[in-house]
């Protein structure tokens, strides 16, 4: 997808968001200017977002300079396409971490996460393992000392 397409897609996303906000605001209750309801402010903001986005779409459509920008961006995109996998890996790892954190506990979940991230970032497995264990232990004791409560998860029995 060309950068120009991405920009247009983004503008349509903002318009869609604005419409959604306006529609939802009506359900919250707009009230009146004398007695503004909970939906009035979001409704005005939604309307403003739609207006500004549509204006942006109009001026982008008529701007000839957008094309120049699109070409350079596309070239740049091609160069770093390989790193998209790394980004996907990091995002998926973080979401999986959030989902399993309370079940596995801080120590186990973070150990897996860090090992994966260090390894994906290009360190050797040995360095990744040592760095992960060291970081987990250090952060666990440091932040526990600062009053942060970490989930124990499957290692609950150790403290019990």
């Amino acid at each position: 997808m060309k950068m120009k397409d991405n920009q247009v897609f983004a503008i349509f996303f903002w318009v869609g968001l604005g419409v959604f906000v306006m529609y939802s605001s009506c359900r919250f209750g707009l009230g009146s200017f004398r007695s503004p309801g909970p939906g009035l402010m979001p409704f005005l903001l939604g309307a403003l977002l739609c207006s500004v986005s549509l204006y942006f779409l109009a001026i982008s459509f008529f701007s000839k300079n957008a094309k120049k920008g699109a070409e350079s961006e596309t070239k740049e995109e091609g160069q770093s396409h390989a790193n998209i996998r790394k980004i996907m890996f990091a995002v998926v790892s973080l979401i999986v971490y959030a989902l399993v954190l309370e079940k596995l506990g801080y120590v186990v979940a973070t150990l897996f996460l860090l090992f994966g991230l260090f390894w994906a970032a290009g360190t050797t497995r040995l360095v990744a393992a040592i760095s992960s264990v060291g970081t987990v232990l250090l952060t666990y004791f440091l932040f526990s000392h600062l009053g942060v409560t970490f989930p124990q998860g499957i290692l609950k029995f150790i403290r019990a």
Binding site: F28, M41, V52, F56, N83, L94, A98, T110, L114, A121
Partner: protein
């Protein structure tokens, strides 16, 4: 309480062992995040916010203030030695600072940067002390219309000063305001955009949002566009400039202090503008403007002084009116409110220990920074050499700990990751996150003032122009919008013959 007894009581607070410790830790962490490109003071404050729960409010604010002005110091080290600014306010230091390093004057560049920063920082603390009182007295008289218009003006300035597209910045500010409406309505208790989630009933948290769009998005961006840092290998010696360099630096430091402070008060990027304007002014006033860009010490002394003076100036609207002028101030506001302290005109009388404690800690913190930055410069250089493959997982982990430990809620982790992806996409598309997050912070106050004003005026919008201060603020906002519209029109008109 007069100034003398106030500042003395402030020093009594700061010289408590625990507060001295937090002041030192703050400036140390600040320098560290300033040195390391990719974290920044916003990320550091977000990560450390939960760690302040066990502290007294004054200790927390001393720690946070230290991180903020420490980062402004640390940012210059990377500009001079690596040609990569640690902070946006140190961008301009790269131009002559790096050239000085290449000419074998890295020590003098680092030295004048630290000394200028110290003088600029100290000047701003003194000016802050004298300016906050009259402003706070005036702010007591402010009603909802004044607050509404002041916030509108702040956001207009933030949008006006955005680095990229003005329309994109406006869109970001509107999106930030929409995000701030998530949660229970403060008057009726109606759930807005909560999608049945208990977590969202309290609204989106500032920490997951800020850490997502700044911390996580920064890591994702670096994963995509990773640039190897090459440190200029030069022996760093003679940290004090020679006599000639001193002579050339005195006036840039004086001008940087005087220029930086008022610009720092402006909402959004005050310290950044201060450093750029200072550089421009020094180049214009110099008898040898041709030396700029080739290692002129004035090009380091002026901007580095101005950005630190600006950092101090940013405290004025927060302490006097409770309105944060930038994201760091927004996080400071959040930290104070978590501790049950509401910044604003009444804070000085209700919590004088906090106000004077922060002021005194800034004097002390500035002195600590000189000690940290000059003799320990070797340590910061070593830290700069830590490869990103080691830093990246650590930054992500600290973000996760920060977001989770706030409420021990995994939903906030997911919110943070979602905003990380959103922040990454916004960067790719050329949208700036700062107007969005600042609008997100100011949104609740804006909505409350707006609704209260309309109720007060029985639905008449004239209330916003009948109050003098409100009318002036709105007039300034309108002027800025008209001026940006005019410059855009002029630009397009100039381009037409070229395009055709």
């Amino acid at each position: 309480m007069d100034y003398i007894s106030g500042i003395l009581s402030g020093f009594q607070v700061v010289f408590q062992v625990s507060n001295l410790f937090y002041c030192f830790v703050g400036v140390f962490i600040g320098t560290l995040v300033g040195v390391l490109p990719g974290i920044g003071p916003v990320g550091a404050l977000s990560m450390l916010l939960p760690a302040t729960f066990g502290m007294s409010p004054v200790s927390a604010i001393i720690l946070f203030a230290g991180i903020y002005y420490g980062a402004a110091y640390g940012g210059s080290t990377t500009s001079i030695l690596v040609n990569i600014p640690g902070e946006a306010s140190s961008v301009v230091t790269c131009i002559d600072g790096y050239q000085m390093a290449r000419n074998g004057r890295a020590g003098a560049a680092l030295g004048i940067s630290a000394i200028g920063s110290f003088i600029g920082g100290t000047f701003s603390v003194v000016a802050l002390m004298f300016l906050v009182f009259p402003l706070a007295k005036a702010a007591v008289m402010f009603g909802p219309p004044e607050y509404f218009s002041l916030i509108c003006m702040s956001m207009t300035i933030v949008v006006y000063l955005a680095h990229g597209s003005l329309i994109k910045a406006i869109i970001m500010a509107i999106v930030g305001l929409i995000l701030s409406t998530v949660g229970l309505d403060f008057i009726t208790g109606v759930q807005r955009f909560t999608f049945g989630s208990d977590t969202l009933q309290d609204g989106l948290g500032l920490v997951p949002v800020a850490m997502g769009v700044f911390g996580i998005a920064e890591v994702l961006t670096n994963l995509r566009d990773h640039v190897e840092r090459t440190i200029f290998n030069t022996p760093i010696k003679n940290l004090l400039p020679n006599l000639e360099e001193w002579k050339r630096s005195v006036w840039p430091i004086v001008r940087g202090s005087v220029l930086g402070f008022p610009l720092g008060i402006l909402p959004g990027g005050g310290a950044i503008i201060a450093s750029f304007l200072s550089y421009g002014m020094e180049k214009r006033l110099s008898k040898h403007p041709e030396k700029f860009g080739k290692g002129a010490i004035e090009g380091v002394a002026g901007p580095e002084t101005a950005n630190n003076a600006g950092a101090g100036g940013a405290f004025v609207p927060l302490l006097a009116m409770g309105i944060p002028s930038n994201l760091v101030m927004a996080l400071l506001l959040g930290a104070l409110m978590i501790h049950g302290v509401t910044p604003g005109p009444r804070m000085i009388t209700q919590h004088p220990d906090i106000f004077w404690g922060v002021i005194a800690s800034m004097y002390l913190g500035n002195a600590m920074l000189v000690v940290l930055n000059l003799p320990l410069v070797g340590l910061w250089v070593k830290i700069l050499k830590i490869p990103y493959r080691i830093l990246m997982p650590l930054i992500l982990l600290f973000c996760l700990i920060g977001a989770y430990s706030l409420n021990n809620n995994v939903v906030e982790l997911i919110i943070m990751v979602v905003f990380g992806v959103v922040g990454y996409c916004l960067r790719r598309l050329g949208y700036e996150e700062a107007p969005m997050v600042l609008a997100f912070v100011l949104g609740p106050l804006l909505e409350r003032s707006f609704r209260q004003s309309l109720i007060m005026s029985d639905g008449s919008f004239m209330i916003f122009v009948q109050k003098p201060l409100s009318a002036i603020s709105l007039a300034i906002s309108a002027l800025l919008i008209i001026s940006s519209g005019f410059s855009y029109y002029k630009k397009t008109k100039e381009k037409i013959p070229i395009d055709d």
